[in-house]
Structure formats: structure tokens, C-alpha cells
Symmetry: C2
Amino acid sequence: MSETKTTVTSETKRGTNYSHYNGGTLEHWSQHKMVHPRVGKVRGKHFLKDHLDFTGCEISINSLPAGVAVPFSHQHKENEEVYIFIKGSGQMLVDHEVIDVCEGSIVRIAPQGLRTWRNTSSEPLVYVVVQVRENSLRQHTFEDGIPNTDPIIWPA
Amino acid sequence: MSETKTTVTSETKRGTNYSHYNGGTLEHWSQHKMVHPRVGKVRGKHFLKDHLDFTGCEISINSLPAGVAVPFSHQHKENEEVYIFIKGSGQMLVDHEVIDVCEGSIVRIAPQGLRTWRNTSSEPLVYVVVQVRENSLRQHTFEDGIPNTDPIIWPA
């Protein structure tokens, strides 16, 4: 069971083989609120697994204000993390190495990597964090795909 | 082995516990090129696993031009997919259900869901696709985290 409490801003729409949830515009991501079990109330971090019924990942959408640094560092037990930066710029610190990040930077961190990050810019740092179990993927890209050659019929 | 061929626009920087790669600005994502095993040359789709050494996921960054529809549909063998839309608007078709998507829409699709999508707007539809093995995650959110209380020392 997760200890995370999130403020739902959108309802999930569920179909037979999908879930759809809207996290709001990038500008809105700063408004999401949650209770972090150690840090307390946090703004600008929103976990999506419970909204979208993920079974192979956890994903959060994030917005860190201008000039703010995350006040702790952390490692993981068995999950690989991927940080996808889509707006703003900042730095990550992994073990003792600094990584400059900006729009389009993608950073993979192994579970044992000790990580923290900060926004060094004057605008929000907007990013997505993906959490997956290390070594869990067996096939990827097109290997796992099953193409379908039937004509596509979009409902009128 | 993947059949995917990608055009590398940035070098990967590797540290002990991380990999870092820059995919370029969101505007640049439309310029990535690859060879799709069935469709041939494709622009605006860029797989990142080989650049970032992912072991638990495949992630692609994508930009679909204004008014363009993906010309095929597909399912997956064992992987769950998550589509994260970050710019523009369009529609997904999953089995026979239409989902309207825009900035901030996140859609999870089970392997057996038959999916295709299109850009119904006059600007690029920019999105990230995450591929993970269904049911592979064992713990998530903070359950998998190991907080560290040592002071954070950013190198000067």
C-alpha cells in the first residue's frame, strides 16, 4: 500500500484496455499537491499510478519553482528512474557528479545512485519521472509490437 | 536485438550510476529520424533505450506534424504503454473508443488494446511514449525509495 495522498484534479476515464487522466497543462503542474511521508506537504509533484492503473511503472509529473533545490537526496531499492526534462533548466547531482539539464535532457539513474536536483533558472523546471523495476524489460521497440493491417476506421 | 536504426543527435554521457542524453528541444523532436521496420523512414520518433541503457523500459520522444494520422494500428505482446502528451492536441483510438488528448493528457494502454492516434490540431503533437512489461512493478512511489539524511554538498 502506498502512503501517498494526492489531490485529484481530474477524473480517470476507463475503457476496456485503457485509462485516461488529464494532469493539466504544464503550467498547472506546479499546483498539484501531495503529502510526502517524510517531507510533509509538497507542491508540484503528482504521482499517477493510482489514477491510471499502471502495472509496470510509476510516473510522476513535476514542477519545481525557480531557484528551488530538493532538500534531500535518495536512492532506490530495486527501481530504475528516468527523469525527462521538458521545460526550464537545472542540475542533478548523482553520487558526486553534477549533470546540467535543460529542455530535452533525459537522465537514467540506477537504483543505487544517490540523487538530488535543483532548479538553477528563473522559470519553473518541469519534468516527468518514470520509475520501473530494474532489468524487468524483456523486449522493446518494435519487437514487442503486433502490427495490424486492417483499415483504420475513425468513428464519425 | 532491435532492428531500430536511429540518428544520434547527441552523445550519451555515462557516469557510475547514470546515463545522460539530450534529445533536443521539443521543437527539435520533429527532426529525429529512424527506420521503422514496416513503415520505412519515419521522422519525429526517437527511441532512447540504446542511448540511455534503460533496463526496465523503452521510452521514445515524438512529434507528429499538424493534421497527420499514424497510418497503422498496433497491439503489444507483453508491454504496457503510457502516452504522455505535452504539447498540441489530437485523438487516440483504442479498440473502438476515441480519446481526446491535449497537453497534460496521459493514457495507459494494456498490451491487447488496438491503438492508433492522430494530430487534429494545427501545431505539432508532442508526446513521450513509455513501454514497460505489464505487471512488472513490485513497489512504487516512496515504498521503493531510500531517503538519505546526509547534508547535500553541491560541488563549487
